[in-house]
Each structure stands twice: as C-alpha cells, then as structure tokens.
C-alpha cells in the first residue's frame, strides 16, 4: 500500500479499541512504516465513548489527528452516529452489527460484520472483539501485513491468551472473507 491511511476506531470504553489502535500502529512500524496513534477519553478515565485514531504513512506524519477517515470502525450506536460523516468519500467503513443496527452510510463503502457476537461465540470471549475487528480491518484493507498484525497482537496481550487471540484473528479473517466473497 502506498497511500496514507487515516483510521478511526469508535465504540465504548471497555471494548479495547485503544489497544486495537496501538496494535495497528505497532504492526505498521513492524512493516517499516511511520505510524501515529492517538485517542480520546471520557471524564478522567471511565464511562462514555471511546475513540482511537491511527495514521499510517510512508512519510513523517505532521498532524496526528484524523479528520476525515479513510477507514472507520464503529462498535457502538453512539460512535456510529458521531463518526459516520467524518469520513472521506471513498472511505471503508466497518460496522459491528452486534451493537450497531440499521447503519446508514452517507459516504464510503460499508462492510457489516457481527464482530462482538463472533468474538463471544466463535472465538470464545467478547473480550477479544477488538482483535476480531483488527483482522476484519486487515482483511479488507491490507493496511498492515498479516504477519505484522500477528506479531503486534502477540506482543501486546497478557501471557496465556495467545491461543484465544490467534483464534480471534482467524475468526475475523474468516468473517471478512465471507463478506468479501458474498459481495
């Protein structure tokens, strides 16, 4: 990939989106790219909505905030509402239909995946929804290489959860392939 990717991941606190953003950035660095990850919090540290932003580029990145995203992931209805318009015309939008029902895009191409549901029921724990989501993202975009993703995931997760997370990635890749094939 050669273009600069502005990526926004939106959901609620506890869905692990900030970790998701970090992993994505770390994977990009492993791929030899430049990456910046930033985020926003609710009051002090808890409650409310959560947002992670990642920019991945071949060149130095000046401005670290995402304005109109090239890639948007939404995992809560609030995030969907808040961020769906802040995307580029040709953006890729990934929607976790476990929580976001009836998503109506004004711009971009939408991919609907029951991410959290798959995490809970296929991978085994909803906790890894973020990892499923990352696999979905990479499945659609190849914004980072699969090997870099795997390496980055494995270096950020608690010891003893390797299998769970590998499974989550597999579930994600599989799910998005199905969606892509169906399209």
């Amino acid at each position: 990939m050669d273009k600069e990717w502005e990526i926004r991941l939106g959901g609620t606190g506890g869905q692990g989106l900030i970790t998701g953003g970090i992993i994505l950035a770390e994977a990009a660095i492993l791929d030899g790219k430049v990456a910046v990850q930033s985020q926003s919090y609710g009051p002090e540290s808890r409650g409310g909505s959560s947002k992670a932003e990642v920019i991945i580029s071949n060149d130095e990145i000046d401005y670290m905030k995402v304005k109109d995203a090239d890639l948007l992931l939404v995992m809560s209805p609030e995030a969907a509402k808040k961020y769906k318009d802040e995307v580029k015309e040709d953006a890729i939008i990934i929607v976790d239909t476990t929580y976001v029902k009836d998503f109506e895009a004004t711009k971009g191409k939408v991919y609907e995946v029951k991410i959290s549901h798959l995490a809970r029921h296929e991978a085994g724990r909803e906790l890894v929804a973020n990892i499923v989501a990352l696999a979905v993202i990479v499945g659609v975009t190849n914004v980072v290489s699969r090997s870099a993703l795997e390496q980055a995931v494995l270096s950020r997760i608690p010891k003893g959860t390797e299998e769970l997370n590998k499974k989550a990635m597999a579930v994600g890749f599989k799910a998005i392939e199905e969606v892509l094939n169906a399209a």
């Binding site: 009051p43 002090e44 808890r46 409650g47 409310g48």
Partner: protein
C-alpha cells in the same frame, strides 16, 4: 426505591457514570434512605464532595450540591456550615480524596467537632484516575502504581478519626445496606462531626488487578469479611482474624463548633 428516586435523585442525569457493578450506587441509595429517615429538608441540605468517582455522587442528588477540588470537600463544607449553621451539611468523599490529599482537613474537621456528616466511600483504590493505590489499599495489593504489591500500611481510618476528636464514628459496607443506612442515619442525627466509612468496591480496577472476580463476588466477599461489632464481641480472636468490624465504633457527646462560636457572637453582641 422508586418513591425516593423521584424525590431525591436528579433522575434526568441517570444512569450515572459509574462502571457496571461499582458499589458506589448502592451506597448512595443508603445515603438517600438515611436522609429520608432523618427527614431532612432538601432545600436546607447541602451535599459537598471532592474529586473522584465517588465524589460524583452529589451531581445525581436533588439537593444543594457542591463538587469541589480534590481532597478539599471538608474545608469547603466547613465554610458552608459555619456561614449558615441552619444548613445540614453532608460530605461525600473517597478513600483517596478523604484520606490522602484530604487527610488534614479530615482530622481538623474531626478535631473541631463541626457538625458535618462525612461519608467516605472506601474502595481501596483511586478509581477515577485508573487504579493507583491509596492510603487505604491493603498491604500487598496490586495497583497500577504498586505493580509489585503495596508496601504501605493502610490507615484504620475510623481509629484515626476517633483519635482526631470526632464525636461519632462508624463503619458499614455496601453489602449490608440496611445497616449502612442506619449508620448514616445516626450520623445525621449527631450534632457534631460524624464520620461513616462505607466499604465499597471498584470491580474495574481494584477487583481486576487483584483477581477478585465479578462485582457480585466482591459483594459476597464483603458479606463474609464484615462482621458487626456486636457479633465480634462474641467471637474469639482467631475467629476475628481477617474480619473487619462494622457498626458504631465511637460515640461521645462533645461541644459542637458552630454552637460554640455562636456563644461568642452572643456574648459580644450582648455587650
């Protein structure tokens, strides 16, 4: 709950910001029930807090509410009470807010025996900032700033407040809700500095870091480790080991600060 809810809560601000399963909401319910039992006039009641998860409570309560700076609630409340002794003044604080940065105001409020009712939510951690140890974290506890286990010893805060001069000191917890309501109620009745430690939970930070299970598990633990003063009196030392004693731990009739001050005013103005 429903009747109280409409009357005492700012329901339009609910649900509150606390995490799922955080016991703070349970303790606030006891507070409201105690206020109801004591029949306080909502217009003449001020609830003051510092900064922390627990200190967000006043925002949900339909009284005169004052959310101050970290640790300073008792100092603000002292101004409120002394300036207008007709107001009932209740302070809501956390273990960090009340015993760490705010420890000095706590002991001085107690020393003056000024008529405040202080309800301290003890979840053994700084919740709001994401799980650092507090002066009430047990030895050995894991927190983000005690990755190797806490080496500091926690205060026995009831003991400390008693030694500072408070007239009423009690301890309750978020499992034994009717006891807690009653302890707060008695604190509200006492004309003087009343202190109630309410053992709470922070399932998200304290619970996770220390592998204490789900919110319900933490409440069940409280049910186990908290024993009433009355029960404790009948128990042997071994039986009491590891237990935390609840109930009214200290009571003494003592001159109250604003009343003492009024005597000076009366004397001066009689002249």
């Amino acid at each position: 709950m429903l009747a109280h809810l409409e009357k005492y809560f700012r329901t339009e601000r609910l649900p509150h910001i606390w995490c799922p399963g955080c016991a703070n909401g349970i303790i606030v319910k006891s507070l409201v029930e105690a206020i109801d039992k004591a029949g306080l006039d909502q217009d003449k009641t001020v609830i003051v807090s510092g900064i922390g998860c627990s200190s967000r409570a006043p925002g949900y309560l339909n009284f005169n509410t004052l959310h101050t700076t970290h640790g300073r609630a008792i100092a603000f409340a002292t101004g409120v009470k002394l300036a207008n002794p007709e107001l009932n003044v209740i302070v809501v604080t956390g273990d960090g807010d009340g015993t760490s940065i705010g420890g000095n105001h706590l002991i001085h409020g107690a020393r003056r025996n000024i008529d405040l009712t202080v309800l301290l939510f003890n979840n053994s951690i700084y919740g709001m900032t994401g799980g650092q140890y507090s002066p009430m974290s047990p030895q050995g506890a894991k927190a983000t700033t005690s990755p190797y286990g806490n080496i500091e010893r926690p205060f026995d805060i009831c003991n400390l407040v008693t030694a500072s001069g408070a007239s009423y000191v009690a301890r309750g917890n978020s499992y034994h809700t009717s006891q807690l309501t009653n302890l707060i109620y008695q604190g509200l009745q006492n004309k003087g500095f009343s202190f109630i430690e309410a053992i709470s939970t922070c399932p998200v930070y304290f619970g996770r870091k220390n592998k204490l299970g789900r919110p319900a598990d933490m409440l069940k633990m409280q049910k186990e480790f908290c024993i009433s003063k009355e029960a404790a009196e009948k128990m042997s030392a071994e039986e009491k080991a590891g237990k935390v004693i609840t109930g009214v731990l200290h009571y003494a009739e003592l001159p109250e600060y604003t009343e003492q001050y009024q005597k000076i005013v009366d004397k001066c103005q009689r002249r």
